[in-house]
Subunit: 271 residues, 2 copies
């Protein structure tokens, strides 16, 4: 074994937030449950703190009251840079592949909001990760998605525990999806919808969309075709919360990335 | 042929309302579309009038602003009784079966709110019918459901046209679902959810639920079983809008009803 001595600070302060949007029920009810039974978030080296992020919106079962909380963390000074030796969130995917059942497999989305800087809640943490579960209806708590979200969080806490113990993680390659831009719904001159997502695109998040394939069905019966000149991978297709943001779907490109190894830290290296 | 002379007044004043709840997008956008292109609602003997029922809630994309509009029409004096010779809504089901494609088949739900009297918008009309489409997410316009709703409305208008022309409709039998009572979610002492609809019940509207079968999955992992002593047919299972009404699902019973014939009216009988 050829482990280089790498400074690696254990993660001790971990928060799990839910209900940033008050009508996303998995997060709301998981956090409420963990506030009653915090043992589920405890590991030998740390205890994650459950946080109900937006109690007012949660009480109203609405995405937000005055403004979208998850678009609000925009000030540069709120952001800390990750210290050397903390884990890249992508390491989690390998952890998930190796230690958990296939039902926990995820897509990894790199979201760089063009020109605006970070604005989401997890961006204020040193090592934030956002779990998106869906498509799922607003205001509905489905047992299958609740269980999956719960298992995903447990898997992440297990990874942090292994990281804190100094465990080695091998290098690997993986596909991730990087946002390119967004596409609005077709609209009338007055701004009303003139159609909606085409049945051939609906429910096909993360699948390839080829030039010439239909993306919208107009109320007049006509199809609108995708006019790009390369394959893209639409995500957040027909998301209820994004109508007001003029987003029918996000276009992403699939790219291959290399995730470096995290070498083992032996007990002699830990201060 | 043995047609009895039956007084049958043609239906001339027909309204099609949408957006009674501002986040039920099929109705909202069909009505908006028909307001622009009213020809779709015209038939030789009448023109149906499109009505956007709750513009304020529609603009906010919320079920309602101050109170649920579709629980508001409670005053007895608002109700007119159907005059003799107008069609029973159940006639429509036969019409649907015979003239339309199988994709338009529906379940017929007889809803008698216990002790409260009628309260919904269609109850103020002489011959009201409410089309429910779902389950579907609030705030999302799906092209498949939009097309289906549009075709269902067209089928109803076609039926009214045939009725107005004096066409005969044969007697038939059909199954309908009659509401028995409602079941709330499992809750903690504080009123929070203690679990949600069981995966074996989720998405199984109008299917038989037998005594001893699971209805809820508690966050603790335990199952809650249906303790009734007869088969029921749950509907409105895990409907987002009904959490606040403390309804996880409605129990219905399936009953067989006979729908009498509407005899033909010949031109000599029409005044």
């Amino acid at each position: 074994m050829c482990s280089l001595p790498v400074p690696r600070e254990p993660l001790r302060r971990v928060a799990v937030t839910g209900g940033t949007h008050g009508n996303e029920m998995c997060g709301v009810h998981l956090v409420r449950h963990w506030l009653q039974t915090p043992g589920e978030l405890q590991r030998p080296s740390f205890s994650a703190m459950p946080v109900l992020a937006n109690p007012a919106a949660t009480a109203a079962c609405r995405r937000y009251i005055d403004r979208d909380l998850n678009r609000t963390f925009t000030l540069t000074f709120l952001k800390g840079l990750p210290p050397a030796g903390t884990p890249d969130s992508l390491e989690l995917s390998n952890q998930g592949r190796e230690l958990q059942n296939p039902g926990l497999s995820c897509h990894f989305l790199q979201y760089d909001p063009a020109g605006t800087g970070s604005y989401s809640l997890e961006s204020v943490s040193k090592n934030g990760i956002c779990l998106e579960m869906g498509p799922q209806p607003q205001g509905v708590l489905r047992a299958d998605l609740f269980s999956r979200m719960r298992a995903l969080v447990a898997s992440i806490l297990d990874f942090i525990e292994l990281f804190n113990q100094g465990m080695a993680f091998p290098a690997f390659e993986m596909d991730i999806y990087r946002t390119v831009d967004s596409v609005d719904f077709p609209r009338t001159a007055d701004g009303d919808l003139a159609g909606t997502v085409h049945p051939q695109l609906q429910d096909h998040d993360f699948e390839p969309l080829r030039p010439g394939e239909p993306i919208f069905k107009l109320f007049s019966g006509e199809d609108v075709l995708y006019e790009g000149n390369s394959i893209v991978y639409p995500v957040f297709i027909n998301e209820a919360a994004y109508y007001e943001k003029h987003v029918a779907f996000l276009k992403t490109e699939k790219i291959r990335v290399s995730v470096p190894a995290l070498p083992e830290i032996t007990s002699t290296l830990v201060p």
